[in-house]
């Protein structure tokens, strides 16, 4: 371990190495298992095993496909969008063997036979939605889907999961067995998958196991300490165009933000991040020759409302109430003051194009407006008592009544389940609580280490359904793949639709984003949900505020989808 021993020379051991503050990745197999989908694993994976397609969101490329990095040309669409034909570029594995369709077939076989063990599997998604998978030759293969999908969606949100895997090295069920076509049969595929998974579940052998020595990525694993430092070394015979410029990348984990920042300040790492509370330190860091730059994510942030809550569900179902609640969240100010400008208002389900991330809420359907919110409540039969207890006075379903299922005298008391460990989040809810209090809406804040764990999607009958609001967006609630459609967030019964929001209109629009090739579908969907408020939109914090040595080039632009391309990095 380099550690502080090497810190004297400012972290980087010589000029061809970069030390990065980075959580230790703990999954190496390109087929991710549930629970191992964290960002660090994705980046780690890309470094060793490139996925078939890689994306960039600057809007230049077709389907957002990054022409340089991707291992294949953009798909050719035929028979009304049902069939996509893909041609591989010339790439080789680190052991010299060419990357062929066989390797992709291999991936497909494994995934198909073990989809239930695959983190990214969704019923109806890949591979279920593939009717036919045919390999033409070493370099070309074609996919025929069950229905006609919006190609952009399919390419961005489905094909993005494909990663070529070295069949010639991995297609066996034991370390000693000879490589064969085992995976071509489902049973064989299961065996192989189990073998590979077992290997992946033994991190201490990551840097020694022969399996992982065959890479397609620009890096190879030089040293791996479970939950400790990880060292990537440049892959000498890397076949891609984006050859690494540095010899070594040292990934160093930290026990916490404070620890990380102490070390950053002491100048012991080349690339780290600035905890929100310490943004005022920008000046100091600059003086120590660091560049501080926020990393905007392809993400939205929101406050989940539990529509199925037996008590408060009925309230959330009232559009006017959701609107007035939304109007009490001063996104611009919170972003500016509490997040020190490192967050930007979320207005709808589709993130603003990266870069355009200004701290204004111009595009938002409901801007901060307590007066309007008050009026809205009063006009719907609520007696608003500031700093008191606002109650429903005229129940009923009429236009100026509280609405369906809201009994007389109902009070507006909500409990929000938030996250511990984020000063900004805590402050943010203090602010929101105080705003709501002014309208007699009582917000109880309950901070837990892992809010997702205790606020599952539920049926009204469930014991676990007692939660009102849930927040897990201290670093962004949801990061989209290249195509920001909401089928997993806001569709009825969608896996991550924790609040059980359900709206036929919304479902229809989401369908459209997936199946019609029509460009405007996404916009329609966005505009509708932005208004209908399936959740309360919250300031969307940057993924992190990076701080890196000014001498370090190629860090920018930081990829909105949270990938890090170390190969682009180099010292001035």
């Amino acid at each position: 371990g380099g550690g502080s021993g090497s810190s004297k020379d400012g972290g980087s051991q010589g000029k061809d190495t970069v030390t990065v503050a980075f959580r230790t990745p703990n999954w190496i197999l390109p087929i991710s298992a549930p629970g191992f989908t964290q960002g660090e694993n994705a980046i780690f994976g890309q470094a060793l095993y490139r996925s078939l397609y890689q994306y960039k969101l600057d809007g230049t490329a077709q389907y957002n496909i990054d022409p340089q990095r991707s291992m294949a040309e953009a798909p050719v669409v035929s028979d009304g969008g049902r069939t996509l034909t893909i041609t591989l570029k010339d790439n080789a594995w680190s052991d010299g063997k060419p990357v062929t369709t066989r390797d992709i077939q291999f991936w497909y076989d494994l995934v198909r036979a073990n989809k239930d063990k695959w983190a990214s599997y969704r019923a109806g998604g890949l591979p279920d939605n593939i009717a036919q998978w045919s390999v033409k030759d070493d370099k070309t293969f074609s996919i025929t889907t069950t229905k006609v999908f919006n190609t952009a969606w399919f390419v961005d949100n489905q094909l993005n999961k494909i990663t070529p895997m070295p069949q010639h090295a991995w297609d066996k069920d034991s370390a000693t067995a000879a490589v064969s076509d085992l995976a071509s049969t489902p049973e064989g595929a299961k065996k192989v998958f189990d073998f590979l998974t077992a290997a992946a579940k033994d991190p201490k052998t990551y840097d020694s196991n022969e399996l992982w020595k065959v890479n397609s990525g620009p890096w190879k694993l030089a040293k791996y300490v479970p939950n400790g430092e990880v060292t990537l070394a440049a892959q000498p015979n890397y076949s891609g165009v984006d050859k690494p410029r540095l010899a070594k990348i040292v990934l160093r984990p930290f026990t916490g933000d404070d620890a990380e920042f102490n070390v950053l300040r002491a100048g012991d790492i080349d690339y780290g991040y600035v905890p929100a509370a310490n943004l005022s330190q920008e000046g100091y860091l600059k003086s120590k020759d660091y560049t501080v730059s926020p990393w905007y994510g392809w993400s939205v942030t929101y406050l989940q409302l539990n529509f199925n809550n037996p008590k408060t569900g009925v309230l959330f179902k009232q559009p006017y109430l959701r609107q007035s609640l939304q109007m009490l969240i001063d996104q611009p100010t919170i972003s500016k003051v509490i997040w020190s400008g490192t967050a930007a208002p979320t207005c709808g389900p589709v993130p603003a194009k990266p870069g355009t991330n200004g701290a204004d809420a111009a595009g938002c359907a409901y801007s901060f407006d307590p007066a309007k919110a008050k009026e809205l409540l009063e006009s719907h039969g609520w007696k608003v008592t500031p700093d008191g207890q606002t109650t429903c006075q005229s129940p009923g379903t009429g236009p100026n009544q509280c609405g369906d299922g809201v009994a007389a005298g109902t009070a507006l008391n909500f409990t929000v389940t938030s996250q511990t460990g984020f000063a900004a989040t805590t402050k943010m809810f203090a602010e929101i609580k105080s705003q709501m209090a002014k309208l007699g809406i009582q917000l109880t804040i309950k901070e837990v280490p892992d809010s997702v764990a205790v606020t599952p999607a539920c049926k009204p009958a469930d014991a676990t359904c007692s939660w009102d609001m849930s927040f897990f967006g201290s670093q962004g609630s949801w990061y989209y793949p290249a195509f920001a459609s909401g089928e997993r967030l806001f569709a009825t019964g969608a896996p991550v639709n924790l609040g059980s929001y359900s709206n036929p209109e919304a479902d229809k629009l989401i369908e459209a984003t997936q199946f019609s090739g029509d460009e405007s579908a996404l916009k329609a969907y966005n505009d509708f949900l932005a208004k209908d408020l399936p959740v309360l939109w919250m300031p969307n914090p940057v993924f992190q505020v990076s701080a890196y040595r000014s001498g370090l080039q190629g860090v920018e632009p930081q990829d909105p989808m949270n990938f890090m391309y170390f190969q682009d990095w180099s010292w001035k």
């Binding site: 404070d258 310490n278 805590t426 105080s434 209090a437 804040i445 280490p449």
Partner: protein, 306 residues
């Protein structure tokens, strides 16, 4: 952390036996006298009174809005816009916040400390009296829980039940009783064999009476002294839990929480968010420890003879 409540006997300078005509001096008065001779104890008492006064009475004279945030006045430096200690990240007046937080800290500390002592006393006394296998069984339980670092236990619980003030009290109380339990048991064991208990038995007295009239009154000193240390520790525990992100959620403030939030501001130059709560905690914990020491002297001396 362990309490400092190990017996520190004061010097063996004995008192003269008061002969039969000397003025009558109650045990409490004598104890008080001794307590007052321990300067540190007096300092501690003074500190406590001062801090408690500021926290509980302060708000009556120094009105601040600790309910509504004011994002237009965040991180004001001390003195600015009439905030003697400045404001915090959402515009709360820091001085007022300290008072509020002090209330929580002191209440949690006292309540948890007392709860722990109460539980421990009962447990220890029962074990000490029952003796035999009951005793050893009960004590093994204590050993077991003691062999798990208390902070770990608190963390576990705090991670389970989302801490509110009352919850915090219960959590800490539920695990801090081990020390007192051991202490009281030891006390009970020795007291049980004291000659005056024998004498009472010799008059046909029952075990129950032994406990009521002899053991409890004599163990009470130890217990009270221990309680003060428990309080001090409880306050520290809250601080640690807050540091680990398991403290009381906003807007309920407590010094521990304010301090650990302040840590984030270490380099931001907002010193008024870090040092005041830090110093406050140190002072209150100091105060209780000093008081504890003084009380120990008092309780011991007042019973010494020749």
């Amino acid at each position: 952390m362990t309490t400092l409540s190990e017996p520190i006997r004061p010097g063996a300078v004995p008192d003269q036996p008061a002969d039969a005509d000397a003025p009558v001096r109650g045990l409490w008065r004598q104890g008080l006298a001794v307590f007052c001779e321990n300067r540190l104890a007096l300092v501690g008492l003074g500190l406590f009174v001062l801090l408690a006064g500021i926290c509980f009475l302060g708000p009556l004279f120094y009105h601040t809005d600790q309910v509504h945030t004011d994002l237009t006045a965040v991180h004001l430096a001390p003195g600015e816009q009439g905030h003697p200690l400045g404001t915090d990240g959402v515009g709360y007046d820091q001085l007022g916040r300290l008072m509020l937080g002090g209330q929580t800290s002191i209440i949690v500390g006292l309540a948890a400390g007392i709860l722990a002592t109460a539980v421990g006393t009962v447990w220890g006394a029962v074990a000490g009296f029952a003796g035999g296998w009951v005793d050893s069984a009960m004590m093994r339980v204590v050993d077991a829980m003691m062999s798990i670092p208390s902070l770990f236990l608190f963390m576990l619980l705090a991670a389970i039940v989302t801490p509110s003030v009352s919850m915090l009290i219960v959590i800490i109380g539920a695990f801090a009783w081990l020390g007192p339990a051991r202490l009281v048991r030891g006390e009970a064991l020795t007291l049980r064999s004291r000659e005056y208990v024998q004498a009472m038995r010799g008059m046909g007295g029952t075990g129950g009476r032994a406990v009521r009239r002899h053991i409890v009154p004599n163990a009470i000193g130890t217990v009270i002294v221990n309680a003060t240390f428990q309080v001090a520790d409880a306050i520290l525990y809250v601080a640690y839990l807050s540091f680990l992100g398991l403290g009381v959620p906003p807007p309920a403030a407590n010094w521990g929480g304010m301090l650990s939030d302040g840590l984030a501001d270490t380099y931001s130059g907002h010193w008024w968010l870090l040092y005041p709560p830090g110093i406050a905690i140190i002072l209150i914990v100091l105060a209780f420890n000093f008081i504890g020491d003084g009380m120990r002297d008092a309780f011991e001396v007042r019973l010494r003879r020749r």
